[in-house]
């Protein structure tokens, strides 16, 4: 654990990417694999789930510090991070005990918390706090409360590991895919300089992600060198058939086997040794259904016949990454697409190959993009015909050119502090529109303002608070913001009766007053126009 604490301090004490990679690589080179495995696991965003509840932890913090519950609560609201609050409030140990190695702490102290009853759990945590102080305690608290977000992205960890292994980051990213388990063997394989021969056949390839196109497509050069297709609003997924087995992975690296039986059924006729990249979409009679329909399938591990009938799903294939067991990712897109057509020849009806968007000149694209909404797509994808299938979000070969979002003007009604970096600023806002004589909340948004605007708004919120409900403050309805969103559907869970998709702040409309804000009827008109599906 000492090494891990030193690594965290090194990462926390710099804002430079190169220094962070240097610190990570230095750590991975020296660390025993039993500990390195856990470090990779936590640093790439994995966490131990359901160990202790936040309510319990706050109660124990009050107990350890001798402070009243309400003062622990006020402190938490001020700090904004529970792990840090607990670290700051519980008394420091009188003497610094030797820290156990990371794997021992995780496997013998932290992970077993899940199986203990409340009293045993409390005794265990209070005992650990009595021995572990300072930064080590902060990390311990981070591990028992969930994700260890310490200013290091998965990409950075991948780059550092690749440097240690002496292999390409793409290979390393691939090694981290799938059900990566924190065992010493896995860690050794991760930093091995040798070729990956006997890879687990279920492991997907790292996804290649498109970047948003900020200027017009004509900036991309010769139109003939580009392939266009619709951008589907579903779940990005990889369909793998290897050694007679089928695997379905989401972009979030979640294994989705069993969740989309109609797709799996259609995939049985695919040849062995193929990996197909595509999008899971709610789909009926040759038409896409809104994302809100697909949402009914997300999280259903074993959908019943009723759900399957109400929300049917298809897999829209758009790339081929492996053919006859050979990695195709270096082949040009045109070749991969030609092979994809051949491979899909025998697939069932729930695996589709949507046609390319034909165009000859860039000037044809704006009108096509403008038709996105009526086609039920998010916009256009532009892919360079000669490009390989890359790893992660690399600019240059894949661009997404999304349709302009919907917008409305809403009134700021509630605010609450953010987390982590934004822990003592009000950064989470709720916006409302007029409905009759009142204002009804319709959207929460967390992003879209500059740092300077966030700070200015924070000061305004503090000075114009009406009421406090725990960390949430209601404010005087004065400030109007233009919000953008991607879609709208009916919702019985929201007082307003509508749910917006991806709401975010577009602009602070200082020029508008509350009277100028939109009305719920304006949103309902959009809803009617979209013919969105009902939420169950």
């Amino acid at each position: 654990m000492k090494r891990f604490v030193a690594l965290f301090e090194a990462l926390d004490r710099t804002t430079s990417t190169n220094r962070k990679i240097e610190a990570l690589a230095g750590y991975f080179r020296e660390v025993p694999p039993v500990d390195g495995a856990w470090a990779v696991w936590f640093l790439t965003g994995q966490r131990l789930k359901r160990l202790v509840g936040s309510r319990e932890l706050r109660a124990w913090t009050a107990q350890a510090s001798g402070l009243p519950d309400w003062l622990v609560e006020s402190s938490y609201q001020h700090v904004g991070d529970l792990a840090e609050t607990m670290t700051l409030l519980a008394p420091e140990p009188g003497h610094e005990a030797d820290l156990p190695p990371l794997h021992e702490l995780v496997e013998q102290r932290i992970r077993p918390l899940a199986g203990l009853d409340e009293e045993a759990r409390r005794n265990r945590v209070l005992e650990d706090w009595a021995h572990i102080g300072g930064t080590a305690r902060f990390l311990y608290n981070k591990l028992i409360t969930g994700a260890l977000r310490v200013g290091v992205s998965r990409r950075l960890v991948t780059r550092a590991l690749a440097e240690v292994a002496g292999v390409d980051t793409g290979i390393l990213a691939h090694r981290l895919m799938g059900d990566w388990q924190p065992t010493p063997e896995r860690f050794e394989a991760l930093i091995s300089g040798e070729a990956d021969e006997d890879r687990d056949p279920s492991v997907p390839y790292p996804f290649f992600l498109a970047s948003p196109l900020e200027e017009g497509p004509e900036t991309l050069g010769d139109a003939a060198a580009w392939h266009a297709e619709w951008k589907w609003d579903g779940i990005r997924a990889q369909l793998i058939v290897r050694e007679g087995e089928l695997h379905l992975w989401s972009r979030g690296e979640e294994r989705m086997n069993g969740r989309f039986p109609e797709v799996e059924q259609s995939a049985t006729s695919l040849p062995d040794g193929v990996v197909v990249d595509g999008e899971l979409m709610a789909w009926r009679d040759g038409e896409p259904l809104p994302f809100s329909v697909l949402q009914r399938r997300i999280g259903r591990r074993k959908p019943g016949p009723k759900t399957l009938a109400a929300a049917p799903v298809s897999f829209l294939a758009f790339d081929l990454l492996e053919h006859d067991g050979n990695d195709l990712r270096e082949a040009p897109l045109d070749d991969r697409l030609a092979r994809l057509d051949a491979v899909l020849g025998d697939a069932g009806e729930r695996i589709l190959r949507p046609p390319a968007v034909a165009f000859e000149a860039w000037s044809e694209l704006p009108a096509l993009r403008a038709s996105s909404r009526e086609r039920g797509v998010e916009g256009l994808m532009l892919k360079r015909r000669g490009s390989p299938y890359r790893v992660g979000r690399r600019r240059g070969d894949w661009w997404k050119w999304k349709v302009e979002p919907y917008t409305f003007d809403g009134v700021l009604l509630y605010a609450q502090p953010g987390h982590g970096r934004r822990s003592n600023l009000f950064t989470d806002y709720t916006f409302a529109v007029h409905a009759g004589d009142e204002l009804v909340p319709v959207a929460k948004a967390y992003s879209g303002l500059t740092q300077a605007e966030i700070e200015e708004l924070d000061r305004w919120i503090r000075a114009h608070t009406r009421e406090r409900f725990g960390p949430v403050r209601s404010v005087e309805p004065v400030q109007v913001f233009e919000l953008a969103f991607e879609g709208i559907s009916r919702s019985k869970r929201h007082k307003s009766g509508v749910a917006l998709r991806f709401p975010r702040i577009h602009r602070w409309r200082r020029d508008l007053t509350v009277a100028d804000a939109d009305r719920i009827e304006d949103l309902e008109r959009l809803l009617a126009g979209m013919q969105a599906g009902e939420e169950p």
Binding site: W70, L71, S74, H78, E84, G420, N424
Partner: protein, 338 residues
């Protein structure tokens, strides 16, 4: 606020009717007592200004009007209206005072800003009995517990040594009045005679000079403005106010490491949001334990919190059986629309 209160919030400070004066008003008044020269306590334009003799030079530099400033010695009472006023060291910065007012409405103490931790640049806080203790509360939550200043100075020194080893400028941000001089004085004790110097931002110069004239030993300093063309700051310590962060002035220090010395650095989110590489937790204010202990040291039967998270401290003291409340001084400015 009952009518028998000796003090009441007014003009962003506290008004004493019996004495006919304000303490730390933020708007010009006829007669005031100024605890210290920080901008949230001292503003120019008042008629008659009483302050600690040790703080006269700094106050004059900050707000001007020095012909209207009357300096008082520590512990020497003076009469204002129907009250007897005494200034005692508050330990916040050079010349900072807390105010003790004796009157028919009892004895009140107004803390100004204060701390209890050792500081080589000023006299330590001196407690005395009061009936009512009006206390600042800038860091009035139990998450604020300061580490030993000696440890923090050691951390700063190790960080500077690290920068020297890597050939990077070490840019240390701290408030221009008080913190900068405290850090320079602490560093002088630690690096005696090894020839180290620090570079100073222009905003620091007059205040550092006043501290030197008061006999405070500090690290030798050179203004950055006197650096020759093409001067390399690799491995050098540069002391600058937080307002310089992100300014074009910083372009002189490529590849620098940025540190900030402040009590706010106790919270990780504060440091990360501002993008400092290092936060050094050293404050010129009392931390939570010191706020609570000082109430006891003053043997006050009633406590009023002002400035900062006052509600939490007042609530905590109430839960321990004290008569405690919180006053909002800023509200007295907002009410009439300024």
């Amino acid at each position: 606020m009952s009518a028998d209160n000796l003090l009441q919030p007014s003009e962003g400070g506290l008004y004493c009717r019996a004495g006919g004066f304000w303490i730390d008003p933020l708007r010009p008044v006829e007669r005031s007592i100024v605890t210290h020269a920080h901008a949230d306590h001292a503003r120019g334009g008042s008629g008659e200004v009483h302050t600690a003799r040790e703080g006269l030079a700094i106050l004059g530099q900050r707000v001007g009007d020095s012909d209207r400033h009357a300096g008082h010695d520590w512990g020497e009472p003076f009469v204002l209206g129907d009250t007897r006023v005494t200034l005692h060291p508050a330990g916040h910065i050079l010349g900072s005072a807390w105010v003790r007012i004796e009157s028919e409405q009892g004895t009140w103490g107004v803390s100004g800003d204060f701390k209890r931790a050792p500081d080589p640049t000023c006299r330590p806080f001196e407690p005395a009995d009061v009936d009512v203790w009006v206390t600042e509360c800038t860091f009035g939550l139990p998450v604020y517990r300061w580490p030993e200043p000696a440890e923090v100075v050691q951390d700063i020194l190790e960080w500077w040594d690290g920068c020297r080893a890597e050939g990077r400028p070490a840019v240390l941000f701290c408030y221009a009045l008080g913190k900068a001089q405290r850090v320079l004085a602490e560093l002088a004790h630690r690096t005696a005679d090894d020839g180290r110097r620090a570079w100073l931002h222009g905003a620091m110069l007059p205040l550092v000079r006043i501290y030197r004239e008061a006999g405070i030993a500090m690290l030798p300093t050179t203004p950055v403005s006197e650096a020759r063309r093409g001067q390399s700051f690799a491995g050098e310590l540069v002391v600058a106010p937080p307002s310089a962060a992100g300014s074009t002035w910083m372009r002189r220090f490529p590849n620098h490491s940025a540190g900030f010395v402040s009590g706010w650095m106790k919270i990780r989110g504060n440091r990360r949001r501002r993008g400092y590489d290092r936060g050094f937790v050293m404050s010129d204010h009392a931390d939570w334990p010191a706020l609570v202990d000082t109430v006891e040291d003053m043997r006050a039967r009633r406590v009023i919190t002002i400035h900062g998270s006052g509600e939490a401290l007042a609530g905590y003291l109430s839960s321990r059986g004290l008569d405690a409340g919180s006053w909002n001084l800023r509200a007295t400015l907002a009410r009439d629309g300024s």
